[in-house]
């Protein structure tokens, strides 16, 4: 297990290095210039001076070398537009995003599993059909539309929850719901299919024949057996949710790292984009590692293949 973790961490480190270099070069290749954004009508000479101050006037490779050297000294650069250290800027918005993402994840897993299990247990009844239909609707609705509708109905019409900003958990509820709905739908559909399949397996029938109580069959036999494909699905859904988080944070003007990323890209705030990309890449790598470890915990066959842990 330990060697697996170390191997995955090393792989992750190489991936982050590659992403950092690719992002660095791509950002400077695409049209747009942060100095121009700051002073649209400045003369070329003034822009050169501004770029000098920003440290972006040198050849790309020189800038890249300096950037990598600084990273090893713990310096991730400076946000041109927030006038603060990139780490400080990211730290300032990370809390809001963690709350949002965590809340959306809890909603997704809780309701995805709950509705999926109910639909499986009531397969082919009106409940199953209702839940499956709702899942299709949830999955089909674009995030920005759901977000706008939630704002109009819950915030504007009913005045129940705030629509924009972040000053505490209640500001995360609406964006969290908008973010979780597609994932709830995906999880529900897959849990349902997986559970139906498990419930038809011979070992479940054998357990029933042995007189094992239904709730034990459900939780220890059928549900646990359904978890491995769900874990894989959840891993891919987390990536999808991070992408959707950018949209949700924009619609709700929610000051998290998704909104920071969007604004930083639009303004060509190079070092902030770099820092955010590293954070998000690191998140994906850690999530995938946890999922891999989760496999070995849930599936004895994988444990045995990895050395009998």
């Amino acid at each position: 297990m330990l060697s697996t973790i170390i191997r995955r961490l090393l792989q992750g480190f190489i991936v982050i290095c590659a992403i950092t270099i690719i992002t660095f070069i791509m950002l400077r290749m695409i049209p747009g210039d942060p100095s121009r954004t700051m002073a649209p009508n400045a003369t070329e000479d003034q822009l050169i001076m501004l770029r000098d101050q920003m440290g972006i006037n040198e050849p790309i490779l020189v800038q890249l070398t300096k950037y990598i050297r600084n990273i090893f000294q713990g310096e991730f650069g400076y946000s041109f537009f927030q006038r603060a250290n990139v780490i400080k800027v990211i730290a300032g918005s990370l809390n809001a995003s963690i709350v949002l993402f965590g809340f959306a994840l809890v909603l997704s897993i809780f309701f995805g599993l709950l509705f999926g299990i109910i639909a499986a247990l009531k397969a082919n009844t009106w409940i199953d059909k209702l839940f499956s239909s709702i899942a299709v609707v949830f999955q089909s609705m674009p995030n920005y539309w759901v977000g706008t509708m939630l704002i109009l109905f819950i915030s504007v019409k009913l005045q129940l929850l705030p629509a924009t900003g972040y000053e505490g958990f209640k500001f995360s509820i609406l964006p969290g719901i908008a973010l979780s709905l597609p994932t709830i739908a995906v999880l529900m559909r897959n849990v349902r299919a997986s559970m139906i399949s498990s419930l038809r397996q011979d070992f479940v029938k054998a357990a029933k024949a042995r007189g094992i109580p239904g709730y034990i069959i459900l939780s220890r036999y059928a549900f646990r057996n359904s978890l491995i494909p769900l874990l894989t699905l959840l891993g891919s859904q987390l990536g999808y949710m991070v992408g959707n988080m950018v949209v949700c944070e924009y619609v709700f003007s929610y000051p998290g790292i998704g909104l920071q990323t969007l604004y930083a890209i639009l303004r060509r705030d190079y070092y902030l984009v770099q820092g955010l990309v590293v954070i998000l890449s690191g998140f994906f790598i850690v999530v995938n590692m946890i999922i891999d470890i989760g496999y070995t915990y849930l599936d004895p066959r994988i444990r045995k293949a990895q050395g009998g842990l």
């Binding site: 002073a39 041109f80 704002i151 005045q159 003007s253």
Partner: protein, 509 residues
């Protein structure tokens, strides 16, 4: 099923328990900006509107234009008197005594001298507004003389001083302070900048007590999405928003909790010809295009009337505005004739022209861009419209050969006409890169005339007709800024230069 409903009920109750007061307190004014801040608080280190608006409430100017006066007469602020000396070049200014900066220091002549020298320093980005470098001379503690370094008359100086924030000399000498904090003499002082929001608090020791800030706290926040800005207003999380979409106007009118404010502003939207890119160096071709554009339909139908049909090369609200003789108006037949005179009868021999435009900031650019393409197709000119993301477009905008034509907007921070005229038409003009001795001559002449009436006459009789004959830019329309506020917001009087004087705002309970 009972369990399921039970769980849902728990979630609902939990949610309701979290619901509390989520609306702005009444000692706090929350205003939303459509443009982002730079995060650099040095007023000479940028040229963007969001920061300029901050400076309009944190700093004072020597004097201000009275926007209600047709002649835009100047109202004393930090200056009590100002006049040109006999040389016709030097502006002498007497300062108000006892004015305090937010850090407690007192305003004096040195502050004004260093402010002018820093702003007009060609190495500073803020000098983009200054056609001439200027210097100051301290006569005594409260008297300062300002003059161009060249020794030649510089007519825009007075109007420039009506928009120039007066900084502290101590801060100017210490750039670290200047870039990281605001320190002015204005009605609000700066507290913090976090998560795209600037926070201010009313300055109790403001020298102009009748005009001190009426609401104690101010939050000025960048929210990019117009729908989100409106939603924040509807829920009461914000009190004022700018750049309302024209599609949102009816919704606001129907909502009794909101009010709508429209204001023709100094901003003009232009089609700019990149004259260094053949065949755009052909004046007749530029004129043919200018005559082919049906601007009336753009303003009335595409913009739903939220724009003012332009008839000059400065906005209707600018100092010295006059209709330009020879300003092109929609006339397809004349456009065809001009196209033939340009050497391209019915467009024959003319390559496909590229026309860049931005999406996501200015309203309806792509919609009216497509309409212009169809206008030009009607006279035989093939045009490819290239919509671009704002940063990419902005980068291309200031490149001399990035397209044949481009859409752009221009919103200078004051009503001084040279902020537009000298910037765009004195060679090399911004965006178009025109260099024309005739235009240079007339623009230089108006900039050197310090007598206001004579200067206006030069603008009307020489400058505007000269531009109309060459059209490096075709002005499409003057922008109209649409603001919306909560209905309990009173005293909000935005200025034609795009300013939002928040210190006059109060809540009607």
């Amino acid at each position: 099923m009972k369990k399921l409903f039970g769980i849902l009920l728990v979630v609902l109750v939990f949610t309701m328990l979290l619901v509390g007061t989520c609306f702005a307190e009444k000692d706090t004014l929350v205003a939303l900006s459509a443009g982002a801040f730079t995060g650099s608080w040095d007023p000479t280190g940028h040229t963007i509107l969001a920061n300029i608006r901050n400076e309009q409430i944190v700093y004072d100017r020597l004097f201000e234009m009275d926007y209600t006066d047709p002649d835009l007469k100047l109202i004393p602020k930090l200056a009590t008197e100002w006049y040109y000396l006999d040389d016709g070049v030097t502006l002498e200014v007497k300062l108000r005594e006892g004015v305090k900066f937010h850090d407690g220091t007192t305003l004096d002549a040195e502050d004004v001298k260093l402010t002018v020298e820093r702003f007009s320093d060609p190495t500073r980005v803020g000098s983009a507004w200054w056609a001439q470098q200027c210097e100051g001379e301290v006569v005594d503690e409260f008297t300062v003389r300002l003059r161009p370094v060249s020794g030649e008359a510089f007519a825009p100086l007075v109007n420039l001083m009506a928009m120039t924030p007066i900084m502290s000399a101590d801060d100017i000498k210490n750039e670290e302070i200047l870039t990281t904090d605001y320190n002015g003499t204005g009605p609000y002082h700066f507290v913090s900048y976090e998560n795209e929001a600037c926070t201010f608090v009313a300055f109790d020791e403001y020298w102009d007590q009748p005009n001190k800030a009426k609401v104690k706290n101010l939050i000025f926040k960048y929210v990019a999405d117009p729908a989100t800005r409106l939603a924040a207003l509807q829920t009461g999380e914000a009190d004022i928003t700018e750049r309302v979409d024209t599609q949102q106007v009816e919704q606001i009118k129907a909502d009794s909790t909101l009010q709508l404010i429209t204001m023709p502003i100094i901003e003009q939207k232009n089609m700019v010809f990149k004259v260094r890119v053949p065949p755009m160096d052909n004046e007749k071709l530029r004129l043919a295009i200018a005559y082919a554009i049906d601007r009336e339909t753009i303003v009335n139908d595409i913009l739903d009337g939220y724009g003012v049909l332009a008839d000059s090369f400065v906005s209707h609200v600018a100092w010295g505005y006059a209709p330009a003789a020879g300003f092109p108006t929609y006339d397809p037949e004349k456009a065809k004739e001009l196209l033939a005179e340009a050497g391209y009868p019915e467009g024959k021999g003319l390559p496909e022209l590229t026309y860049t435009t931005s999406v996501g900031f200015y309203p309806k650019t792509q919609e009216y861009g497509e309409y212009i393409v169809s206008n030009l197709a009607d006279i035989g000119i093939k045009v490819k419209l290239v919509p671009m993301e704002t940063s990419s477009w902005e980068d291309a905008l200031y490149q001399p050969e990035s397209a044949h034509m481009t859409d752009t907007g221009w919103c200078p921070p004051g009503l001084e006409p040279d902020l537009t005229i000298a910037a765009f038409y004195k060679g090399p003009g911004q965006v178009s890169f025109i260099e024309d001795p005739e235009l240079d001559k007339v623009v230089t002449a108006e900039g050197a005339e310090t007598d206001g009436d004579k200067r206006k006459a030069i603008l009307k009789d020489s400058v505007f007709p000269a531009i109309a004959a060459k059209v490096p830019h075709m002005t499409l329309f003057d922008s109209m800024m649409i603001y919306s506020t909560r209905s309990n917001v009173k005293g909000f009087e935005p200025t034609p230069s795009g300013g939002m004087p928040f210190h006059k705002v109060y809540f009607d309970e």
